[in-house]
């Protein structure tokens, strides 16, 4: 007991925990809050900060790669029609001709033409990514565990919102069909990840390098936190 008690107040993780368990005078909630405060104030070491800079590189790098790819393959389109989604634009195969072709085919089922102008998220997503770059640089300079928690939460929200938005887009395209169209088909949702059959077309939809960079950014945040898990919080 004595031996353990003598360790109380030390910042060494595990023994400290055991010590608190045995400290009867401090209520559990206060103990939790104190530990949380200590954790959020924990400084980030040099390794964590360097890793965060890598995260910045991932975010900037995401502008150079597509986030998603949709490919449509049919017997008469053996090489496929290809649509690549960047954070700021749609890029279709064969210098954009594949998008014209997709729209041309979609007019038979009464789908609205897919056009860049309708994708309002392609203006705010790049802005958001820029914001995350600044916030990550801020975290690198301020160097507190709390910054990482902020970033993790905000970025996860950003990612999930974008995915939901993407799903909503696809849902709308597949459901908002002109009833006067030549061909009547059941409303559908194009698949987001994986393979799907729509009439004579097989649709393949998969995340691309840009998305992996975003995922990499999240892992960078977790890794940076892990690297500084044993840092001592300075108590004033």
């Amino acid at each position: 007991m004595l031996n353990q008690a003598s360790k109380t107040g030390k910042d060494d993780g595990a023994p400290e925990t055991r010590a608190h368990h045995s400290t009867a005078e401090e209520p559990a909630t206060r103990r939790f809050l104190r530990r949380e405060r200590l954790f959020l104030a924990r400084p980030l070491n040099l390794a964590s900060r360097l890793v965060l800079l890598l995260g910045v590189a991932f975010l900037i790098g995401s502008f150079f790669f597509p986030l998603w790819q949709i490919r449509l393959v049919a017997p008469q389109y053996r090489d496929g029609l290809e649509l690549k989604v960047y954070s700021y634009e749609l890029r279709a195969g064969n210098n954009g001709q594949h998008l014209d072709e997709i729209n041309l085919l979609n007019h038979y089922i009464g789908m609205k033409p897919i056009q860049q102008a309708d994708f309002v998220e392609m203006t705010w997503i790049p802005f958001a990514v820029g914001l995350f770059v600044l916030l990550t640089l801020r975290a690198t300079v301020f160097g507190r565990m709390g910054n990482l928690v902020d970033l993790f939460m905000l970025f996860s929200y950003f990612g999930l919102f974008s995915m939901a938005n993407f799903y909503y887009r696809l849902y709308t395209y597949g459901h908002d069909l002109d009833p006067k169209a030549a061909m009547t088909i059941e409303p559908f949702v194009p698949v987001i990840i994986g393979k799907n059959q729509i009439a004579n077309f097989t649709q393949y939809s998969y995340p691309m390098t840009g998305s992996y960079l975003f995922l990499g950014f999240v892992l960078v945040l977790l890794f940076a936190a892990w690297l500084s898990r044993k840092e001592k919080t300075l108590v004033e």
């Binding site: 001709q97 072709e101 041309l104 038979y108 030549a182």
Partner: protein
């Protein structure tokens, strides 16, 4: 005389047949079945796979070019050139209609690929029209006829063309039929020798655009110029033409033009012809600078070649010129290096109307006894020549010089192999034979008689083409295909040499009346001129109702706004004899004078989509307005 030739050659031919029979047997497989199977496998192109080569056939009097794949020998497409071809809407729109002019046919004999430094560059294919004295250029970028030149002045029967010089500087033309010049002048055929004129022509090819223009002509006696080839290497500035009527006969030609043992072939220095024009040594005739070779030394030399020769073919090195005398059982090999020496030393055996005749014995390397009825020679690039024997129905393989003393003493020894073809072979072709580096793997024999080789087709028979493997020591028959009338010569080029587009890129469309947006598509009237800027796209025409009235001239500018491979649209107008095909990204213009009122449905003729059948519209033609109708009535009774 002729009988004697046949008598002396029959034993030799029989001998060669026996030789061939022996060659056909495979040591390990006496039945030859295994051999045939492996041969078939080599020429088999499985579904989804592609041929290695294009084979461009002249279509003879169909006026077109047939394109097949090699080694499959499958017909892939037809390129319309000199005759309307509804399948491609050729000859209906304003541009192709103007190109064809008043002619509805042509007679394509000799296609020639454009070259750069003696090698195919895959840009253009030139073809001649033996009937109406024209020359056409087809672009291999889109497989379409771009220019038809002619009728060429001072030329009648453009047979000896199209032969392209080493870097496509010129396409050369020989006039097969001599006529009194200028065209339109009357002189009875009995005045043939004095009043009729032969002509050899240089057609300049623009190095960038390919645009052809008549550059100069060389005046000759009325010899009936037949075939030609161009030089390369040491002979790069030269071209060679055979003739078959040095007798200058004008009637009963088959007899009267076959009297001499040798006919004069023309050796033309086209660089010297260029210089003669630059030095003003010409007279204008029908707008063309015509060179009198007796007044411009160095432009033209003659060489006697036996007998009534047909093909004259330069080998890949440019040194050996082989003239095939169809009425003698041998083919004549000329050493061009000796020709240059003879020209230098003025080693002539006479002259004809002021033009020197090269001394035969000084320049001829030998007469190779290939067999009966030699017509044309092709080369494999390994020192072998292949000569078609019309009468014998055989391809003979023989060795080019240099020959050993022993071989020279008995040239039968250089004849290496013979293979039967079915039947009566005309031209034969080896890919790249007229370049510095022939492909040397396949030979296509183009035979004039198919009798009994196919399921019956009534009395009118197709032509046969036979694929022969020439990679080994012995030629091997691989497969046989049939074509419509009537391939003469053909050209083979590696498919990867071509840069062919699959759609016309929108950015390249410079048609002033092209429209790309449905909101721009419209019909407008100015007086009695109706202009329709129309869009064709799966699966509609915009506009699809076009109004006009009797007496109008209506012009459609129809743009296919598709950019997808294979998405061509056609527009056929019922009962108005109009059918135009518009490829993806293309704009075509066609014009019609409306003379009858009524509703004229139009529809897409090229199956384009699931709703192709619905791709249609109406040309609604009202009766003429009252004033116009009165005018019409007042005119009609007098008709």
């Amino acid at each position: 005389m002729k009988l004697r030739i046949i008598k002396t050659t029959v034993p030799a031919i029989l001998g060669s047949f026996l030789l061939l029979g022996a060659a056909g047997c495979n040591k390990h497989d006496p039945s030859g079945a295994q051999d045939r199977k492996s041969a078939a496998e080599q020429a088999y192109v499985a579904p989804g796979e592609m041929d290695e080569y294009y084979l461009f056939y002249s279509g003879g009097h169909s006026g077109q070019i047939y394109v097949s794949g090699l080694p499959s020998m499958r017909h892939i497409v037809t390129i319309p050139v000199f005759a309307p071809f509804p399948g491609k809407g050729y000859g209906f729109d304003d541009t192709t209609r103007a190109m064809l002019g008043a002619y509805t046919w042509g007679d394509v004999h000799h296609p020639a690929l454009s070259k750069k430094d003696g090698m195919y560059d895959g840009r253009w294919l030139f073809v001649n029209d033996n009937a109406n004295n024209r020359l056409a250029r087809v672009s291999l970028r889109d497989f379409k006829t771009k220019q038809i030149l002619g009728p060429i002045p001072n030329t009648s029967g453009n047979h000896g063309s199209s032969f392209v010089t080493e870097s496509s500087e010129y396409v050369l033309v020989g006039t097969r039929f001599s006529i009194p010049l200028p065209k339109g002048r009357y002189a009875h055929p009995s005045e043939y020798k004095e009043e009729y004129t032969g002509m050899l022509t240089g057609i300049k090819v623009h190095p960038e655009t390919g645009e052809m223009t008549v550059a100069w002509q060389i005046l000759t006696p009325p010899f009936n110029w037949d075939l030609a080839s161009t030089g390369k290497g040491p002979s790069r500035d030269w071209a060679f033409f055979t003739s078959y009527n040095t007798e200058m006969a004008h009637t009963m030609m088959e007899v009267n033009s076959s009297q001499l043992d040798r006919d004069l072939a023309a050796f033309v220095n086209w660089r010297a012809a260029e210089r003669a024009v630059a030095e003003n040594k010409f007279e204008l005739l029908d707008g063309v600078p015509v060179i009198d070779p007796s007044k411009a030394p160095g432009v033209l030399y003659y060489l006697p070649i036996g007998k009534s020769p047909h093909g004259i073919d330069t080998d890949p090195s440019g040194r050996w010129i082989v003239g095939s005398g169809k009425l003698q059982p041998s083919t004549t090999v000329v050493d061009f290096e000796k020709v240059l020496v003879a020209v230098e030393k003025k080693d002539f055996e006479g002259e004809n109307r002021g033009v020197p005749i090269l001394r035969y014995t000084s320049v001829v390397e030998g007469e190779v006894p290939v067999g009966l009825g030699p017509l044309h020679t092709q080369y494999d690039g390994r020192g072998n020549a292949y000569t078609s024997l019309y009468i014998e129905s055989v391809v003979a393989k023989w060795k080019l010089p240099p020959w050993t003393a022993e071989e020279k003493a008995n040239l039968e020894k250089v004849v290496l192999d013979k293979i039967d073809v079915h039947y009566n072979i005309g031209h034969l072709v080896i890919g790249g034979s007229d370049t510095r580096e022939p492909y040397g793997d396949w030979l296509v024999a183009m035979n004039k008689l198919s009798a009994g080789r196919h399921i019956p087709t009534g009395p009118g028979l197709p032509e046969t083409s036979q694929l022969i493997d020439i990679r080994g020591d012995k030629m091997r028959m691989i497969s046989e295909a049939f074509t419509d009338k009537e391939p003469h010569f053909a050209q083979i080029i590696r498919a990867d040499k071509l840069s062919t587009i699959e759609v016309y890129p929108k950015a390249e469309n410079k048609h002033p009346e092209a429209v790309w947006s449905m909101t721009d598509a419209k019909a407008t009237r100015q007086g009695d001129q109706v202009k329709v800027n129309m869009i064709a796209v799966r699966s509609r025409f915009v506009p699809d109702i076009v109004e006009a009235q009797v007496g109008d001239t209506i012009t459609f500018h129809i743009t296919n706004v598709e950019q997808t491979r294979g998405m061509s649209h056609g527009i056929g107008v019922n009962e108005l004899n109009m059918n135009v095909v518009v490829d993806p990204g293309e704009t075509k213009t066609f014009t019609m004078k409306l003379t009858e009122p009524g509703i004229f449905p139009f529809y897409c003729t090229v199956f384009c989509s699931a709703l192709h059948q619905e791709m249609q519209g109406y040309l609604a033609v009202k009766p003429a307005s009252k004033t116009a109708a009165v005018e019409k009535e007042s005119v009609e009774p007098s008709l």
